[in-house]
Amino acid sequence: MSHDFAPLPDLPPPGSSVGAIGWLRRNLFSNAINSVLTLFAIYLLATLLPPLFNWLFFDADWFGDSRDACTSGGACWVFVSARFSTFMYGFFPENETWRINLIYIALIACMAPLFIDSFRHKVKLGVFVIFVFPIFGFILLFGGVFGLEQTETSQWGGLTLTLLLASVGCVAALPLGIMLALGRQATNMPAVKSMCVLFIEFWRGVPLITVLFMSSVMLPLFLPEGVSFDKLLRALIGITLFQSAYIAEVVRGGLQAIPKGQYEAADALGLSYWKKMGLIILPQALKIVIPGIVNTFIALFKDTTLVIIVGLLDVLGMVQNALNDPNWLGYSTEGYVFTAFVFWIFCFTMSRYSQSLERKLHTGHKR
């Protein structure tokens, strides 16, 4: 007498461990402490968020052109919209702002293919964006040729100046930073190595604010008589030197991450130093330090706000300037929240991008 073993069908999992209830039990109320923490957090959010959202959106005034439009007690976004063009373009002549817009559009058009995976000529395009595009941008911004009206650098301001300082600072610092990193790695040349170490450690050890002070008061003393630099150019020189030290350290990290075999193989092929670096080491090293460079760019982007100290008006400077306008006294919170939002969007997007790059690029050198 044989009977087949017929297992009973599986019971469904208990209702409390699946679906929404299961998720709640696992993630919010897994034990007594967690339950208390969750309730506390919910209480905190319930007391803080409604007034915040009311102030930001529901009670806010959005339309109008003077402070009389702000009556409802919430945020007065009229202040921001009335001053929007100075926040974006500074004191650039109003009917010339199309030039700045054109630079932005051209830059986006040039950068867009870099984010498409199947695009083949990324390196060429990258080199174009880094070395050729700035010339085009400078001609458009400064004018004076091709019938474009010439502008003063003191008219450049707002977000345009912020982006200009950060990107020029970073691009100009890149070649210098790479040379410094190579110099720091040159163990057979102690004199060059120690000069590079000194330079890097000096700029990394001092705050950017003293660097800006130095470039605005000491740089004029360094130049021969009769030669003087524009205020913006002085700040740019300071920022570039400062940034090059940080980039050098990032690039050094990349150089050290390349396996020794690559150096030895290049030597075995009989390549000269520059060929070894230019053809074998740097292409690999620079690829893996792109996220690090993006991170230093984010740091620099935030630090450019300091130029307000030497009298340049970036986006924060423009907001500070607008807050001193007697017509708009007392709207500092709105101004700062708006500026914070602008910076946050830029920095958050870039940091997410650098994280995704890091995941994508960190494949080849893991052993």
């Binding site: 604010i209 003393l221 700062y336």
Partner: protein, 396 residues
């Protein structure tokens, strides 16, 4: 082979120009000459420029009277003090901000880093929101926000927010009760120092006994008891030689107590919140760097969860955390120079700002300021390297 092409002689040594050692030497000499020439060019220009503008050189100005007052100083200072004293006041204010900032940033950062890893979804997301918001907004903007948007809109002294009638927050700053030491306080001070020394010896003894016999001693509880009880006993035995001076509203402002001026308050708040967001990320990645196998092995040994954390996870995580933590402390110290933007009298504001404007000694003042920051960076990194070496893995 040599017979096949007798004309082509293989040189015994490579040609001088292709000898790497020789090339390195030439390159180094050229580089040194270029740098030296550049420095010479700058120095000569500076000297001629200073001469033509009638600026005297040297550090003699440090002995002249400054003639301006400073909002907050930790040492005695007035308008007749010298510029040298101004420098000291600025330096001490910078150190004060940095120490306070490091203290609060570390506490907030560690709490947020641990909360970020909480198994509670809501708490973890809240911590992540905090981190992502505050590290992506420029520090200067945050300082402006706390100082101008929040600080200026606080109620006046008469409507000040208070905690237990001893702590007052108004647009004049934060007023705290100040301890006033009387003559007999020396004994309590000595008792505090003595109990700290005793605790150190106790910890050593407990560790030795544990390693020799395996018997545990409740060092933490014993230390706390010694640290609290002994000074308290001495304090009361000598007749409580200290009282608190509470701030009280008189006229239009508070009198008595110790005041944290709004500039300092805004600066420390912004610095700690900003840096804490970075420290939280450091802590999170440090804890995550300890592999799960370590925790599992520890629980397989039967350790309690609190012991796993204290004996297995934290010591290993600290090794990963310390180097980036050092650079965060350095950043905080350097960022404290943003004080100049809201008028807090730190080194940059009173020395590289006011003093430079009054004396015009740009080169000397900038050089002094920069070397102070370099020195501070050096001290912090030496200290943290020492700590790092102490915590490093001792391989046997």
């Amino acid at each position: 082979m040599a017979d096949a092409s007798p004309e082509r002689e293989i040189p015994a040594k490579p040609r001088l120009l292709s000898d790497p050692k020789f090339r390195a030497l030439v390159f180094q000499i050229l580089a040194s000459i270029t740098v030296a020439a550049f420095i010479f060019f700058i120095v000569r220009n500076t000297l001629t420029n200073m001469e033509s503008r009638g600026i005297s050189t040297g550090f003699g100005f440090l002995d002249r009277a400054s003639g301006f007052g400073i909002l907050q100083s930790l040492i005695e200072y007035n308008e007749t003090s010298t510029y040298g004293r101004t420098f000291l006041v600025g330096l001490l204010n910078t150190i004060l901000v940095s120490v306070l900032g490091v203290f609060f940033a570390t506490i907030i950062g560690f709490i947020m880093g641990v909360l970020r890893l909480s198994s509670n979804w809501l708490i973890s997301k809240l911590a992540a929101t905090y981190i992502e918001i505050f590290r992506n907004i420029p520090l200067l903007l945050q300082i402006f926000f706390w100082y101008y948007a929040i600080g200026f809109n606080l109620p006046g002294p008469r409507q000040a927010m208070s905690v237990g009638e001893s702590l007052f927050l108004s647009n004049r700053g934060l007023y705290l009760p100040a301890p006033v030491f009387e003559s007999g306080f020396m004994a309590t001070g000595l008792a505090i120092i003595g109990s700290i020394v005793a605790v150190i010896f106790l910890a050593r003894w407990a560790r030795k006994r544990f390693e020799a016999t395996g018997q545990l001693f409740h060092t933490v509880y014993a230390s706390l008891a010694i640290l609290i009880l002994v000074p308290a006993l001495v304090f009361f035995a000598t007749g409580s030689p200290m009282h608190l001076d509470y701030p009280s509203l008189q006229g239009f402002n508070f009198q008595g107590g110790v005041v944290v001026i709004p500039e300092l308050f805004a600066l420390v708040l912004a610095l700690s919140i900003y840096t804490a967001a970075f420290i939280a990320e450091t802590v999170r990645s440090g804890i995550q760097a300890v592999s799960h196998g370590q925790t599992e092995a520890a629980s397989a040994l039967g350790l309690r969860p609190s012991w796993i954390l204290r004996l297995v996870v934290i010591p290993q995580a600290m090794r990963v955390i310390i180097p980036p933590l050092t650079s965060q402390y350095l950043n905080l110290t350097k960022n404290s120079s943003l004080a100049a933007a809201i008028g807090y009298p730190d080194l940059v504001a009173v020395f590289a700002g006011t003093t430079l404007n009054q004396t015009g000694q740009a080169v000397e003042i900038i050089a002094i300021t920069m070397s102070v920051y370099l020195l501070l960076s050096l001290i912090i990194s030496i200290f943290m390297n020492w700590y790092n070496a102490k915590m490093a893995l001792r391989e046997r």
